[in-house]
Symmetry: C2
Subunit: 157 residues, 2 copies
DNA sequence: AACAACATATAAGAGCTCTGATGTTATGCG
DNA sequence: CGCATAACATCAGAGCTCTTATATGTTGTT
């Protein structure tokens, strides 16, 4: 469009801005932020999903794959992939045989802890940018809305 | 957690709710809504990304792959995959040799138009749910924030 | 003790999305 | 005109995410 098609608006303008569909805006905002996080973490080869998993395992050491999936609002299969990649990278350890047989306990390795620490700093900075222009009222409204959307039961449709 | 680990909060509670990181909340909200849209469109085998592409091609007939990518804030490669799947499904047509050689013009097929119409109704209902509990003030705040996040230049970090 | 119900983990297949690389076509400047 | 640069399309490779399906382990009921 830069040259060819002046009729196409850019992101943030007109129907693609404040007047657009909330669904689009949500999609685009999440995509933009995801990319931003992954670029900030690119140096460490960590994705947004992996960062989230590291944080959660750090908060709940010994968590199971299934519990982690519930925590992250993802399917166990999805989490299995993410955990698998983190294990390949040596950031976490699977402790297979708990007291009971099937469950795999997840814990950060020393490498994983060090990695998480470095990632945290960068992401925290981005988190700050996210709230930059917001008043307390507005931030509250945004938080409540995001939680409502995230927890809206799919069945209630 | 339902049984095993009572210390793990569920989505929407404590640090995972209004007090959590905005980045997480954004990620989860977008994931939840994406899933909701795709379940609503499952009958037609259309994904959220495909729906977005159909809408945009409908709004800007004859758009190029590259312009569509800019419009959707995605890479040309990503759009190429989405468009490829829509073409396989017979929902759109590529008009390769415009006046000038390299560009591929995209247009909805009759099938695509009919499909989009059906999808629209369902997604519009979801869009309504998105704004359900919001006051005018709150909705405005949310919209402005989403646009700000979506358009925040990655370079400004 | 046996069987049914449920949870856990994992694999396969599909779609979305990115980065990086390649080839082709336009455009612009000596 | 010829070549460099830029834009477009596309391939390859990687990771995330879902669905569906399978195998194994735990628990509760009869």
């Amino acid at each position: 469009m830069r040259k060819g098609n002046p009729s196409i608006p850019s992101a943030g303008e007109g129907k693609r801005g404040e007047e657009g569909y909330l669904g689009y805006l949500l999609r685009q905002a999440a995509g933009a932020y995801r990319l931003k996080v992954e670029r900030a973490l690119d140096e460490f080869g960590v994705t947004q999903a992996q960062f989230a998993a590291l944080i959660m395992i750090s908060a709940y050491p010994g968590i199971s794959n299934a519990d982690l999936a519930r925590l992250a609002v993802l399917t166990p299969q999805t989490v299995s992939v993410i955990v698998g990649n983190l294990e390949k990278a040596g950031s976490l350890v699977r402790r297979p045989h708990a007291v009971h047989g099937r469950i795999q306990h997840l814990d950060l390795s020393d490498n994983g802890r060090a990695l998480l620490k470095k990632c945290r700093e960068r992401v925290y900075r981005l988190e700050g940018e996210l709230t930059a222009g917001l008043s307390a009222e507005e931030e509250r409204a945004v938080r409540l809305w995001l939680v409502a959307v995230a927890t809206a039961d799919a069945a209630q449709a």
